[in-house]
């Protein structure tokens, strides 16, 4: 972490440094101590619930961190939900009507979706909805509790552009899993019982094709996190991503450490939750394995 060329103290003083001031500040933030000592101070503080002190913002990290964390979680959760809600029906449609016009169209859209960086979606959506149509706000975030409609308006574009990045993976997976499930005997039985197509596809077939899809979501969640960093930057969303980049630009070590840790924890946590959901949707899976 501390291989970073540059010194946070210099960023803090911005060239107005007086004699001895640099050393005093370095001492205050423990930057003069050896790396292992600094790491020890950091890790023991973390265990006590002390996230550390942001040199750039001149306040405790926990103070800046929590509102930002909520903003990012809001964005990521909604994007995840949206890409699942859109991805499952689209995947089922293209599996049911395999080889049809709809299938081809969905395949092309998802191929384009995989091939474009997430921020390009963001920029293009901004151009369409904010400049040409002028119906949605370009940047920023409004809290749910202040004004619910304004809040949703601010959410639409970032959520859409993040979920467009994940959507193709969901569609592709639902499609390929469904293609296999549809051929099985129990689906034929369901048809023979005279169930409606909706019930056959969405109740009987979907459940068996969800296991693989969940795994795909778990693996690609890291991509979603990476995409959220850039999307936050495009939409000036006051979340962890913009904070992360700000911290990197100002060499705010403690803040960077916490943020990288949080990203890794989020990734691990989501994969853990995915493992838990497996058991709910597929009773054959147990932890004893």
């Amino acid at each position: 972490m501390q291989f970073l060329p540059g010194d946070p103290v210099h960023y803090l003083l911005r060239g107005y440094e007086a004699e001895g001031q640099v050393e005093a500040l370095r001492k205050e933030f423990n930057l003069d101590k050896p790396l292992f000592t600094q790491y020890y101070i950091w890790i023991t503080g973390l265990l006590k619930g002390n996230l550390g002190f942001s040199i750039f913002y001149q306040q405790e990290i926990s103070g800046i961190f929590i509102p930002r964390f909520i903003a990012t979680i809001e964005l990521i959760t909604l994007s995840l939900i949206l890409s699942v809600i859109l991805g499952i029906p689209l995947g089922i449609i293209s599996a049911v009507k395999v080889g049809s016009f709809e299938d081809g169209l969905i395949a092309i859209i998802s191929l384009i979706g995989v091939s474009v960086p997430v921020f390009v979606f963001g920029v293009i959506l901004q151009i369409i909805f904010c400049i040409y149509l002028d119906i949605l706000p370009t940047i920023g975030r409004v809290s749910f509790f202040e004004d619910i409609f304004d809040s949703i308006k601010h959410l639409i574009l970032p959520v859409l552009s993040i979920s467009l990045g994940l959507l193709p993976y969901v569609i592709r997976n639902v499609r390929s899993e469904m293609l296999e499930v549809i051929k099985t005997d129990y689906i034929r039985t369901a048809w023979a019982k005279g169930l409606s197509p909706f019930k056959v596809y969405y109740k009987h077939a979907l459940r068996n094709s969800l296991v693989g899809t969940l795994a795909v979501i778990g693996i690609n969640f890291g991509m979603l996190l990476g995409g959220s960093v850039v999307t936050e930057l495009v939409f000036q969303w006051p979340g962890l991503g913009t904070l992360f980049i700000q911290a990197l630009m100002s060499h705010d070590y403690q803040l960077i450490q916490i943020l990288v840790l949080v990203y890794a924890l989020l990734f691990t946590l989501v994969n853990f939750i995915v493992d838990l959901i497996y058991i709910i949707i597929d009773p054959r899976i147990t932890f004893e394995g």
């Binding site: 972490m1 291989f3 970073l4 060329p5 191929l111 384009i112 995989v114 091939s115 474009v116 960086p117 997430v118 921020f119 390009v120 920029v123 293009i124 901004q126 151009i127 400049i131 040409y132 969640f221 890291g222 991509m223 996190l225 990476g226 995409g227 960093v229 850039v230 930057l233 495009v234 992360f244 980049i245 990197l248 630009m249 960077i256 990288v260 990203y263 890794a264 990734f267 691990t268």
Partner: protein
Amino acid sequence: MKDSLLKLLIKGFLKRKISLVGLVIFLFFIFCGIFGSYLTPYDPYKTKFSNRYELPNNKNLFGTDWAGRDVLSRVLVGAGITLKISILALCIGSVIGGILGIIIGFMKNSLLKMLIIQINDILLTFPFLVLAILISALLGSSLNNAIIAIGISRIPRYVRIFSLVVNSEKNKNYVISAISIGASNMRILFYHILPNILPIFLVNTVLFFALTIIAEATLSFIGIGAQPPLPSWGLMIRQASENMLVYPFGVIPPSIAILLVVLSANLMSDGLREFMDPKLR
């Protein structure tokens, strides 16, 4: 052995027309990447403020940007930059990661191996882009550092994939019989295992190629990759998006360039996967 592998590869490509399209786009990209800087109609760095924000016309096929530079020339030179990045990052990521993974997979089960795999798993919990952004910023904002960062952040995944593949390959009958006739480790590795895992290596490398381009564009967009006035595609989108109120068209040419190249890699990897799967051959 090698010939038949190549033949199968070509056959797999010919069977799926769409992969062939990918290959053609890819070859065109490589051509632009190598010769692009000689084909430019104008100097990509020459600013001319009298014709800023020109829409596409006869003189400037893709229009001009905020400084009056010809966008077509910049996209062409950008192809060279993208090609350079992807080759170098691939060398770092897939070669180092692949070799490490193969060695670790080939190692006998021991405490050391478990320790390495555990450490690697910890590294894998960092999302790829977050890791790339972090390392790139740690090294300082420049194109070369971005390349190194992208390469390094891909290593853990390669190590993971190849240690698993080699590990499972090691217990297959053909390797056991090779051991039984007294083949050396080196011979087993290079002559027996390597040809068998080559297709997996190819598919992963093509996919990584796509990811590299996206990652580089992202880093440059954030501002920690290529620095102006280099015409990197990500940076061009960044600059165009800053001026999108005046000239929204500027975003389109570099976006389409990225789209085409990444699309070609995805199409090719689909074809490769088909060729890899013996059931579909």
